[in-house]
Structure formats: C-alpha cells, structure tokens
Symmetry: C2
C-alpha cells in the first residue's frame, strides 16, 4: 500500500483550498481526508485536532493576505498606498473566503501563538501605509486598529452577503477608502505629501 506522502503543510493547504471552494463550515475532517485520498484518522498524524487545523489555516490566510497587501503597496504611498492595500485585502477575501473565515472568532493564546505572529505579519503592510500619513506616534496603535476594523468589517460583511444591492458594493468600498483617507489626513492636521519612507 503506497503512502500518500502527506505532511502538515499539505494538509493545511488542502484544507484552506477546500474551505475556499465549499465554505468554511463544510470543512470537515472527513471531507478533507477524502480530498487527500486518505482516511479520516490519518489526518491526525499531521494536525493535532480540527481546531489546530483551523488555527493553521488562519495563520496561512493572514500570512498570505499580508503578503498580498505588501506586494500591492510596493512603490506607492499616501492615498495610493491606502487604496491599493484596501483593494488587495478585499480581493484576497473575495478570492479566498473560506480560509479568511478561519481567522474570525479566534482568540490568540499568547504573543508567541502562530496565529498572533501571522496576524502581526499581516498587519505590517498597514503600518507601512500609515507611515504615509502624519499620525502622532501615540496614535499609531489606534490608527492601525482603525484600519483593521474598517477593512475587516467590510470584507466580512461582504463575504457574508450582508450588503443588499450588490451592484453598488464597489462604489461603497471606494467611498469607504476615501472616508478613511479623509479621516487620516485630518488626524494629522497637516497633509503630509506622500513620500514613501520619509
């Protein structure tokens, strides 16, 4: 009997893909095992439990999302960077709804929790975006949380089909980005001319 040659990352990756295709709620150990051509208990050789699987998928999603956002803001700053970051995140969530859904409702166990680490990494590009605005040092945490709340909120609502007139959702998103931009500019009192790394 030949071996399937699995390995934790393969299981997590397949789980994330399956969640994207069939919905996070349908991500059952049995379904995942079937997709991998293996019996259910075999999965437990690679992940400790379903919750462990969820957390690993969440960490993967946060890392991927952060990388996508990071790539999107390359060479941009100020409002351009903000818009690029926002759209990159939204695109990621729309394209990978299942794995992103794994990230909600997770309480990080501590600062060394892989989920927390991945979340921090996913947040880094947004810190970079903020550097294009004149936000006081002591307000950086608040501004970062604001960005997170805004775009996470919009993305999850959209992914859950929470907006009724789907035709205008794109416009709403652009409007939201503008709202945040205006709020950030006004926060500094001075409009810093976008200059990356300045």
């Amino acid at each position: 009997m030949p071996r399937a040659g699995l390995h934790p990352d393969a299981v997590v990756g397949a789980g994330a893909a399956l969640a994207d295709e069939t919905g996070f709620a349908a991500l059952t150990m049995g379904a995942l095992a079937e997709r991998l051509g293996v019996r259910t208990p075999s999965l437990y050789k690679h992940v400790a439990s379903q919750e462990d699987l969820h957390r690993r998928i969440a960490a993967l999603a946060l890392t991927e999302a952060g990388d996508a956002v990071g790539a999107a803001i390359q060479g941009r700053s100020g409002r351009d960077a903000l818009a690029a970051a926002a759209h990159a995140l939204r695109d990621f969530v729309v394209t990978h709804p299942g794995r992103y859904a794994a990230t909600v409702g997770l309480t990080p166990t501590g600062p060394d929790d892989p989920v927390a680490v991945a979340a921090a990494r996913g947040l880094a590009p947004f810190e970079a975006v903020l550097r294009g605005y004149d936000v006081a040092a002591e307000d950086r945490v608040h501004a970062l949380r604001a960005l997170r709340s805004v775009f996470h909120g919009f993305a999850t609502l959209e992914a859950d089909g929470g907006f009724q007139f789907s035709t205008t959702v794109d416009d709403s998103f652009d409007w939201l980005v503008d709202l945040v931009h205006r709020g950030l500019v006004a926060a500094g009192g001075t409009a810093q001319v976008p200059q990356h790394g300045a």
Copy 2:
C-alpha cells in the same frame, strides 16, 4: 408530570442568554435543553432546527442592538449622536457577545427574512445619525455601509480578543469614532477640509 410551559420566544431568549454566558460555540441543543429543564428533542416543538434557533437569536440581537442605539441617540445629533451610537453598539456587543456572534456569517435568504428585517431595523438609528451630516443623497448607502463596516469590524475584533493591549482599546475606539467623524464632515464639504494636497 407538569409541563414546562415553553414557547418559542422563551427558547430563543434562553438560547441568547446561554450564548452570552458560555459563548456562541457552546450553544448546543443539549445545553439549552438542560437550562430549560427539558429534554433535547422537546426543543424541536418550538424551533425547527439549530439553524432556525441561530437565526432567531440573530434577529433578536439585531433588534435589541438597534433599540439600544436608537435610545442612545435620542436628543443628540452630529458628532454627539455618532459617538453615542457607536458606544451604544459597542456596549451591547461587549455585554451580549454570544447573541451578537449569532449575527455573523448569516446570509439572509431574502428581503422578507426575519433576519433581514431585524437588520434593517437595527440599521435605522445609523441612518438617523447620518442625517446629522451633510452627505449627498446618492452617497447615503455608502456612508451607511461604512458605519456598519467600521463598528461591526471593531466590535467583532474586540469580542474575539483580537486587540493585544487591552488597556488602550477604549482610546482606540474613541479615536476611531473621531476618524469617522472627520471623514464624514469632509465628505459633505461643510466643514474644514484640511489642507489635503494644499
């Protein structure tokens, strides 16, 4: 054997309370039955399924949240109304995390879905808040969605323990409210548009 004298609303109310106390994930039919002093199958005389229960709890939460926000903005307008509404919603989510968690991940089946109706009702106070700002008629939908995204995002992140330094979360929230306020004011053009781009 005396009857328990249950009734759908009692089941939904108890379910919401149980979810608040033990977490939405722990809201099992068995646990709810035990709390009501009844056997599990008896619940099915009052709710059609667990999903039905979830939807009813969600509708209850949205209605209650909307009422709380509506009460909070009485006699206020402009920035005061915005701040009052935001804090009322946040307080509700913090106080009733379980029932609010029931509202995420629900796709309304149609415009007559009780969940959709309750959501619309819960949104009404925010429309009222927006009337205190000079937002163009065609932008009202966008502005409403923005408010929803912002405060829903913050509330869910906070409820999930997603913010690391809990001591400053209150400040972050106030800062977020200010950010939105500034963005809304600048949207109308009535107030000081900061020297963005000179």
